[in-house]
């Protein structure tokens, strides 16, 4: 029996139980949250020395100058591929970001050495040893002492200046989170009988339609109402969860697609496999959360390339190095034919603010059910499975 089919049956059971026990369901609470910020999980120190002892990475421009060593060579390349500045580094002038496999960066690429990170144990091993489905990798320990955490993407991005917390790309993504509606992400938790311990609650992850507001000192205002974008149904994901000592921990979502407009470029889908979420409900009106899962490496790179990557100079990143590093650190979805992993574990720290999540009225739902939605059309493309995904 597939996991999805099992969930459907369980879902029917929940509905049946609800209809038999109306009073208990009616007394259950609903919690709502809106995402107000996010960063890559991991160790990031102010002087980089712990996680990047060899220094931070070099961008495409620095690699161009290292690749074409003399001034004459550089000028000739720039002249030959006018309009692409220092990005045409492939054998036939291919752009480094878009054809990373054709470009070899001459400058060594530093990878993150930190050992502390929030996240989940995604592969189920304590030590990150290779299994039939995973590749050998190092594990992290959370600041709370939880061991066995997987976050290999951190290795690849930790020493890229712009992607580190408050780096240019990171800051832009957080800024756009507030200004671009496509980035507004909401979590709705229903069926909460006890916010401290509850064996079963339902979590819905979706996009929101309303602004998030800040007070004069920058604090996000809690308890505003936020409409869920139910027209974009392909962006709505449901998962069961439990609450243990005030921490909500979800089951695994086979797929989770989050549409984001994180930078100055195009918008894209940050696609997760085997995703899980953890929300610290004890944090009051401004809880923290962790979202983790596997990213298909090729798909994640394409997402990066069309969002931050096209401005890799601002992000101080070089696509070819990042691409190779991601493949090198891939730890999940091993291809049985090649023995190489095709997906990389990743973890993200989220900041949330409490909100009332508003669902469509029956009248609004009828309209959205009958109207073609451009958002859904986008999602049809975005939800297509990567050909590299291992079933």
């Amino acid at each position: 029996m597939s996991k999805q089919y099992l969930w459907k049956i369980l879902g029917l059971g929940v509905v049946a139980a609800a209809s038999l026990s109306y009073s208990s369901v009616a007394s259950a609470k609903t919690l709502g949250f809106v995402v107000t910020g996010w960063h890559h999980s991991g160790t990031f120190t102010p002087d980089n020395k712990v996680e990047c002892p060899q220094g931070l990475g070099s961008d495409g421009r620095a690699n161009f100058k290292a690749q074409f060593k003399t001034k004459e060579e550089q000028e000739a390349q720039i002249k030959k591929y006018a309009g692409f500045e220092m990005r045409a580094r492939g054998p036939n002038g291919e752009i480094d970001t878009y054809s990373p496999e054709l470009v070899e960066d001459p400058i060594p690429f530093p990878e993150g050495q930190g050992k502390i990170s929030y996240g989940f144990n995604l592969d189920g091993t304590k030590d990150g040893r290779a299994t039939d489905r995973t590749c050998k990798h190092s594990k992290f320990t959370s600041p709370d002492g939880e061991t066995g955490i997987d976050n290999q993407y951190y290795r690849s991005m930790a020493c890229i200046t712009g992607m580190r917390p408050h780096g240019d790309a990171d800051a832009m993504a957080n800024s756009q989170l507030l200004t671009k509606m496509v980035n507004r992400l909401v979590f709705e938790v229903t069926g909460v009988d006890d916010e401290k311990n509850d064996e079963s609650v339902d979590v819905t992850i979706a996009h929101g339609l309303d602004k998030v507001s800040q007070g004069p000192s920058g604090v996000f205002i809690p308890n505003l109402s936020q409409r869920m974008d139910e027209k974009a149904s392909a962006y709505i994901f449901h998962v069961k969860a439990k609450i243990v000592n005030g921490v909500l921990i979800s089951d695994e979502m086979p797929n989770l697609d989050i549409a984001q407009y994180p930078g100055p470029g195009d918008w894209g889908i940050r696609a997760f496999m085997n995703a899980r979420i953890k929300i610290n409900l004890k944090d009051g009106d401004h809880p923290t959360a962790v979202l983790a899962g596997y990213h298909d490496v090729e798909r994640l790179y394409r997402y990066w390339a069309k969002t931050n990557g096209i401005h890799s100079i601002t992000a101080t990143a070089s696509g070819p190095s990042l691409y190779r590093s991601m493949h090198r650190n891939a730890d999940g979805y091993k291809d049985p034919k090649t023995g190489k992993c095709t997906a990389i574990s990743a973890s993200y720290d989220y900041q949330l603010v409490k909100a009332f999540i508003i669902r469509e009225t029956p009248e609004e739902k009828e309209i959205s059910d009958n109207a073609p939605s451009s958002a859904n059309a986008d999602v049809q493309v975005a939800s297509a499975k990567s050909p590299l995904e291992v079933k």
């Binding site: 004069p216 000192s217 604090v219 809690p222 009332f356 508003i358």
Partner: protein, 552 residues
């Protein structure tokens, strides 16, 4: 005439019209001659939108008008004109005239067409200025006035080769003329009795019911003499009360009575109340006005303003009340549940946040506001040498405001006044300084018991119910409404009228529309007499004026 000399002339004119040159806000209850009222910002906007339509972009900022006997409407008859204040009127006038005569609007706001855009056109200038002047001056222009304004328009049109610019000059002049800025009280004496003329009646009536200058129909009724007949007056009052524009009058009265202009300077400590925004403050004022206006619109019992659980909310207000708003980008009607601590306007953010310190509550301010606003009682200002140390730097073992105030009251100098404010204000301690509900302060349970005029209550809902049932609150409303209508301080000569109106108000089921209508058709509303020998009312003699100096 240069600007400085124009200002001087107008200031003198204004003062002469007022008959109060040199009178500050503290000189209240002795009005030697019928007072002239200075136009307020809202009246300015409402009137110009009647003349030129709602599309006019207006955001005038005029000098604040002093509050007298609890009302700006009364203070407006004591406002003096300074050069700085006139400058603000002048700026607003130019902006209005530029919009009206500008290329975008002139074709539909100016009904005639000049023969040439680059030359004077006597007929078109006269038609335009006569029509506008009739509404602005609340009467037809005199022949001399018409000639002067048209002449000025023509002269300027010829000298700058632009008909519309010439027209704009005269229009600006009208908008800073004393006849527009001040609502005077033109009188007539019939059989030995001095009353307002029909045009004077029209102005007073329109300010009461619509907070605006008269419209065309009301001016026509004045012109025909119908307004001088009981039947004609009744017809106009009924028309105006039935109009949606009554809401503007009702909202302005309550905005004035509730001292809501203080919202313009309201600020909260961003560290203590990090989520209290300017938007919350704007919406809080509007929430209460919408709530009160709905009660009047529905012709319900006025006293419901103290107890109603029905209100209107926005998303930003929902964050303070902890209420989900199904349409986050709209104002939505909302009813608090029966067991909710919110009931009536005393529990609105408008009241709880406005009457508090920037970083904490203030039972004293809240109690003082209840006494002065809703019971028409004057609470003396704190003595200059009062020692606030027990409040501002309290003993940490004193967890709640009640504890700290009790310590503060141990000083007998302070105790006298606090006895009349704190028992009411402490009833609202479940609402912090930004209006959030709280059951505890510094982890100590809040005791919100108190009493109002001998009626015991246990919380803000009980306090509101006590206010609802208080005959003094009803009579205060009547007193405020009459002062608002007359635009002058009440004195001993008005006591019988207040009493009679109050009885009628109670018999009507406490309906505000009925009260406004009754005042509007009452002969006394239009009487004008020399009140210099009259004795001020008790409240007026207590020190009736000005901006409230609030204690802790």
């Amino acid at each position: 005439m240069n600007k400085a000399s124009l200002f001087g002339t107008l200031a003198v004119l204004g003062a002469a019209l007022l008959g109060t040159a040199g009178h500050g806000a503290d000189h209240v209850a002795s009005v030697g001659v019928p007072a002239a009222r200075l136009i307020t910002e809202d009246q300015y906007v409402n009137t110009l939108k009647v003349v030129f339509g709602p599309g006019l972009k207006l955001a005038p900022r005029f000098a604040p008008i002093p509050r007298v006997q609890g009302l700006v409407a009364v203070g407006s008859s004591h406002a003096t004109m300074t050069a700085g204040a006139l400058d603000q009127f002048d700026n607003a006038a130019r902006l209005v005239a530029d919009q009206v005569t500008g290329r975008e609007n002139r074709d539909f706001l100016i009904t005639c067409r000049p023969k040439s855009n680059t030359a004077a056109d006597d007929a078109c200038a006269q038609e335009t200025l006569t029509r506008i002047g009739r509404v602005l001056f609340r009467r037809p222009l005199t022949t001399a006035e018409t000639k002067a304004y048209v002449k000025a328009a023509n002269q300027n049109a010829e000298s700058i080769h632009d008909f519309y610019r010439g027209l704009a000059v005269s229009m600006s002049a009208m908008l800073i003329a004393p006849e527009f800025l001040y609502v005077t009280q033109p009188t007539q004496t019939v059989r030995g009795k001095t009353t307002l003329t029909a045009y004077g009646k029209a102005a007073r009536l329109s300010l009461l019911l619509w907070n605006s200058y008269p419209d065309d129909a009301l001016l026509n009724a004045a012109e025909s003499g119908a307004l001088n007949t009981p039947k004609g007056l009744q017809a106009q009052v009924e028309r105006m009360v039935a109009s949606p524009r009554l809401q503007a009058g009702v909202r302005n009265f309550f905005d004035d009575m509730l001292v809501f202009e203080n919202f313009e300077t309201l600020s909260k400590d961003a560290t203590t109340f990090p989520t209290f925004t300017y938007k919350v403050s704007v919406d809080a004022r509007e929430q209460t006005l919408r709530t009160v206006a709905a009660i009047v619109r529905d012709d319900a019992d006025f006293r419901d303003i103290f107890t109603t659980r029905k209100t209107f909310l926005t998303n930003d207000l929902g964050s303070i009340y902890g209420v989900r708003i199904d349409k986050p980008d709209e104002w939505v009607p909302y009813e608090f549940p029966a067991n909710d601590p919110h009931a009536g306007i005393l529990t609105h953010v408008s009241f709880t946040a406005l009457y508090a310190q920037p970083g904490r509550t203030s039972p004293t301010r809240r109690g003082k506001a209840i006494r002065e606003i809703f019971l028409c009682q004057k609470v003396p200002d704190p003595p200059a040498n009062v020692d606030f140390s027990k409040l501002t730097n309290p003993d940490p073992s004193l967890k709640t405001s009640r504890d700290r105030l009790e310590a503060h009251r141990s000083n007998p100098v302070c105790a006298g006044c606090h006895k009349i404010t704190d028992p009411m204000g402490l009833g609202m301690e479940n609402f912090d300084g930004a209006g959030f509900y709280r059951a505890e302060e510094q982890k100590a349970p809040i005791d919100a018991r108190g009493d109002l005029e001998g009626v015991q209550f246990s919380d803000a809902v009980g306090l509101s119910k006590a206010l609802h049932d208080s005959p003094k609150a009803t009579s205060c409303l009547t007193q405020r409404m009459l002062g608002y209508a007359l635009g002058r301080p009440l004195d001993s000569n008005d006591e019988a009228l207040v009493k009679s109106l109050n009885e009628d108000f109670i018999n009507s089921g406490y309906r505000v529309r009925h009260l406004m209508q009754t005042i509007a058709i009452n002969d006394a509303f239009y009487n004008v007499e020399d009140r210099s020998a009259k004795v001020p009312t008790k409240e007026a003699s207590n020190a009736s004026s000005s901006v409230q100096k609030q204690g802790s």
